[in-house]
């Protein structure tokens, strides 16, 4: 008998649809890195990201029947993850508004300039870039994450976010400019 580790994604989906939980667990193990690569840069690393990550997998489980294999499974799951991350950011914004007056349009990820003492240059740069990434508006951050971190093409990013390719290009351009400005300001 073939083990779940040796099965293709489509075979696992078919088996999971028939109620085989081991098959779905294997899909979760295969794609949890893809979900984390989308959710964590969007929300920051913490309990909320873990919770949203679980919701992504549960949505995938419920909607497996709709996956027909036109897109890659990575693109399909990334789309669910990105939509869930944006929903979580909207929920977070609404709940913050109950307690604080809105200011600095999107201060929802990482507000403190990272400390850079006793760290290597690479770690410093990484922290600065992550800080700048957290300062971007969610729709711009989503493009930067998909294009520059996850390596999706412009067309794939446009498909995932359901916007035209031109919008991806303009948001990416704005995103890079804003990140450069934030990094320059933080290091000045």
């Amino acid at each position: 008998m073939i083990s779940v580790q040796d099965m293709t994604d489509l075979s696992l989906i078919s088996s999971a649809k028939d109620g085989n939980h081991d098959s779905f667990a294997e899909l979760v193990r295969r794609y949890q890195g893809v979900v984390a690569a989308t959710i964590i840069p969007m929300l920051g690393n913490g309990d909320e990201a873990d919770e949203v990550g679980q919701e992504v997998m549960i949505k995938f489980y419920r909607n497996m029947g709709q996956f027909e294999g036109q897109a890659t499974l990575k693109t399909y799951i990334t789309r669910i993850a990105m939509n869930s991350a944006r929903d979580a950011l909207r929920r977070r914004k609404r709940s913050l508004k109950r307690f604080f007056a809105p200011k600095d349009n999107e201060r929802d990820w990482q507000d403190e300039i990272p400390g850079t003492e006793d760290q290597g240059r690479d770690a410093e740069n990484r922290q600065l870039v992550q800080f700048a990434l957290g300062k971007l508006a969610p729709e711009i951050r989503a493009v930067v994450v998909l294009r520059l971190m996850e390596g999706f093409s412009i067309e794939e990013a446009a498909d995932i976010l359901d916007v035209p390719s031109g919008t991806i290009l303009s948001r990416l351009s704005r995103g890079k400019a804003q990140m450069a400005k934030t990094i320059t300001g933080a290091t000045a």
Binding site: N125, I154, S173
Partner: protein, 144 residues
Amino acid sequence: MTEEHIQYLIERLVEGRISPEEQAALDEMKQRQPELEKLIAAERELRSILVSGPAPSFRSQFDQRVMNRIEEENAPAPSPASQGFFDVDFARALGRLFPRVATPAFALSAFAMASNASAATPGSSVFEALFGLPAIDIATALFL
């Protein structure tokens, strides 16, 4: 050539997807705008920083947490009667027993009330007569 198109060509170059025609267009641009080299270098550096370091990951046993939630969702919903000490069989037995006990109890109460009413002393209220209570005034009740 717009700024976005230049950006597009730089991305294609950095990702190794640039076509010969696009490469020729970019080379021509670089001759006219030498500062494009800096933009290309910045693009490469930004990408290398963004993908450097450990890949984002969830806490360990993420797959187990997902599967637990799915199993919870798939479990049949418990009926109210099956929760606590009231199990389904006990609730059904109670339902069958109630009319058997309630009907004779009601008949016995009606008979007792009729009997009390027939033996009631003159001047007692309806309540006192039905329940066979002695006639009593407020002053007596206060001193009891």
